[in-house]
């Protein structure tokens, strides 16, 4: 899932962390909100950030807003990009846990066809 997460991040352009940023590819975010609802997406993201904070300690102080964005993360540049990859990977792993690998990959393919070459 880490490699898939990297492809998703590479296919997206996210804004700087401090101004409240998308921690997940925007197309995937839109698709997940549509599927699981705003509240569902926020719950998943909160859990993903919590799991990712074990690898990226700076995420421990991050807050998830009601519209699914991260605030107050003291990261920028390459460090932020890597944090986004980790959070995305954790979210994908969570989805695999809940709905299985095939459905997760279909969800990703539907949201971001360009991030799933050859799938």
């Amino acid at each position: 899932m880490r490699e898939l997460a990297r492809l998703l991040v590479a296919s997206d352009v996210s804004s700087h962390a401090e101004s409240g940023a998308d921690a997940v590819n925007r197309n995937l975010r839109t698709s997940l909100i549509r599927f699981a609802g705003g509240g569902g997406f926020v719950s998943l993201l909160q859990r993903s950030v919590s799991l990712a904070s074990a690898e990226v300690p700076a995420l421990r102080t991050a807050k998830v807003t009601t519209d699914g964005r991260l605030e107050a993360v003291a990261l920028s540049g390459a460090a932020w990009d890597e944090a986004v990859v980790v959070v995305t990977a954790r979210m994908l792993e969570l989805l695999v846990t809940f709905i299985g690998d095939p459905l997760t990959r279909r969800l990703v393919r539907e949201a971001c066809p360009e991030a799933s070459p050859g799938e």
């Binding site: 549509r34 599927f35 699981a36 609802g37 989805l95 809940f98 299985g100 279909r106 539907e110």
Partner: protein
């Protein structure tokens, strides 16, 4: 002969609009609906939590969704969409490939929580228009309405439902609204008035069993099968068992065209050649009298003659039954492998009669069965869920009727309690259902507990009136000679037959052992009736 009125024919020159029927994807449900779901209909699936509404909706969606006919499944407040996918993909009908565009899941929770009904209607309309969905599900619709009820007048609510139904039908969508309604709401809730179809699922728990039933409460434009139909939820989703058992066409079988051998030549002779084909025979007797053995002999004889058979057992597992039959020289293993014999063991404790009949009917059709043994009716009753035992007699009537329509000759065993003052025929007062009755009985003679068989009734044939002794041997049941010279055999404790000279006697015509077709009276005294009884 059908006595139902034929549907009125259309007026001259006016064609009826064809209404395409969509498959439900649920075994048995298309038959209950009278062919399937009407296209573009607006339907409600109602019932208490846990009775299978969401699973039913998913089955319908997966049965119909495709690239040219996509489906949208709106989830609202209730089971989270991720959880729903997690559980529903455990069923065999769940095709992952269909989630590539054929089926879309859209969550309306936030819209419902933050906005009014107009906003909800707008988003549903927008999504349906954008996707050109042909199947639309809102799960649960009740939560949409419940949230709005605090701030909306009844008229506004009615308007919302009306507009929703109108729009979805105009966009050629077949719609399913799911709701945890109770029957008391039927009278006042506008959604039931607007709906074209209303499917109600019930679930009740009695002692240790769950009984699930489905009723088509309303269905515009087509005739459904009325009443409550049993259903079960398995790994394949819902499976319904229509009360018609799939037997809606007129039967072409005529009973009694030929005689079926029981496997016991002397018993065949007592029955004037055997059991009339297509009859239902009740084999009644106490425990240990040999009912199951006789049933096995009946099946074995059929297999010898190339007639496939089915044994439906309730009191032992198939391997035990087959092992026991083998001890009497009946090989049931080979015919099973050849597909000529099925030994059905139906899951006990929460069976329904409809489910049992369905299983048997399917098996009959599968192997072209000609002979069926149901062993035993008492075990069958015990295996039923308590809720079904109350109308067991009526259920038996429907079951026997359904099975004999298939042209199968049925032998049902029933245990009767033995007493020494009378000879009952069954515990259920169902003897009238049987075309033929054979009774097995213990009799105490000369310090021994011997066994006796008699043919009590044959609906369309003459039969012997002898009461014959029989024995259970290593080869099965073997009939002996009639027990002559006794009176009171039916009590089980007979005495010697004696004649007083003053007692008139009915004497049979010379064809001894058969029911007299003409009787004469004869005074006692010298002659046949005055024989000494030899001990």
């Amino acid at each position: 002969m059908s006595t139902r009125r034929a549907a009125p024919s259309p007026a001259q020159g006016i064609e009826r609009v064809p209404i395409r029927k969509l498959p439900t994807g649920v075994a048995g449900l298309d038959e209950i609906l009278g062919g399937g779901l009407s296209e573009y209909s607006f339907n409600i699936i109602a019932g208490a939590p846990g009775c299978g509404k969401t699973t039913l909706a998913h089955q319908i969606v997966f049965a119909n969704a495709g690239p040219e006919s996509p489906a949208i499944y709106f989830t609202v407040l209730g089971e989270p969409a991720i959880k729903m996918l997690r559980y529903q993909q455990q069923f065999s009908f769940f095709e992952h490939a269909k989630l590539d565009g054929a089926i879309r899941f859209v969550n309306l929770s936030q819209i419902v929580l933050d906005n009014d009904l107009s906003a909800v209607l707008d988003i549903i309309v927008k999504e349906v228009e954008a996707s050109n969905a042909r199947i639309v599900v809102v799960d649960s619709f009740r939560t949409v309405v419940r949230k709005a009820q605090g701030s909306t007048t009844e008229t506004e609510l009615q308007g919302f439902v009306q507009r929703l139904a109108l729009h979805l039908t105009s966009w050629q969508a077949t719609t399913f609204l799911i709701g945890e309604y109770v029957e008391g709401e039927l009278r006042d809730n506008p959604v039931f008035t607007v709906s074209d179809g209303l499917f109600w699922l019930y679930q009740s728990i009695e002692r240790n069993s769950i009984v699930r039933k489905l009723q088509i409460m309303k269905l515009r434009g087509q005739e459904s099968v009325p009443g409550l139909h049993t259903f079960r939820i398995t790994g394949d989703g819902l499976q319904t068992f229509p009360r018609t058992f799939g037997l809606t066409k007129e039967s072409t079988h005529v009973k009694g065209k030929r005689r079926i051998s029981t496997g016991l030549p002397k018993l065949d002779a007592m029955m004037n050649g055997g059991i009339p084909e297509g009859d239902s025979l009740l084999l009644a007797g106490p425990s240990g009298a040999g009912k199951s053995i006789l049933g096995s002999q009946f099946i074995a004889e059929g297999l010898r003659q190339g007639e496939p058979g089915i044994v439906a057992i309730f009191e032992e597992i198939p391997s035990e039954y087959i092992e026991r039959a083998s001890k009497f020289g009946f090989d049931f293993v080979t015919p099973q492998k050849q597909g000529k014999l099925k030994v059905i063991y139906l899951r006990p404790l929460d069976l329904s009669v409809d489910e049992t009949v369905y299983e048997i009917v399917n098996s009959v059709r599968e192997i072209g069965c000609k002979r069926l043994v149901i062993d035993s009716l008492v075990g069958f009753e015990m295996a039923l869920a308590p809720g079904f035992r109350a109308d067991f007699r009526e259920s038996l009537y429907r079951m026997i009727g359904a099975l004999t329509r298939l042209g199968v000759t049925i032998v049902s065993t029933v245990e009767v309690e033995e007493n020494f003052t009378s000879m009952g025929l069954s515990n259920y007062t169902v003897s009238f259902l049987a075309d033929d009755i054979v009774r097995l009985r213990y009799v105490s003679i000369n310090g021994q507990l011997r066994k006796m068989l008699l043919v009590v009734k044959m609906r369309r044939s003459q039969h012997s009136i002898d009461m014959c002794e029989y024995q259970i041997t290593a080869d099965g049941i073997v009939l002996g000679v009639p027990l002559r010279g006794y009176s009171g055999l039916t009590t089980g404790v007979p005495g010697p037959w004696s004649l007083s000279q003053d007692t008139p006697v009915l004497v049979a015509e010379p064809s001894a052992g058969r029911r007299p077709s003409a009787v004469t009276t004869k005074k006692k005294g010298k002659g046949r009736g005055n024989k000494r009884i030899r001990r």
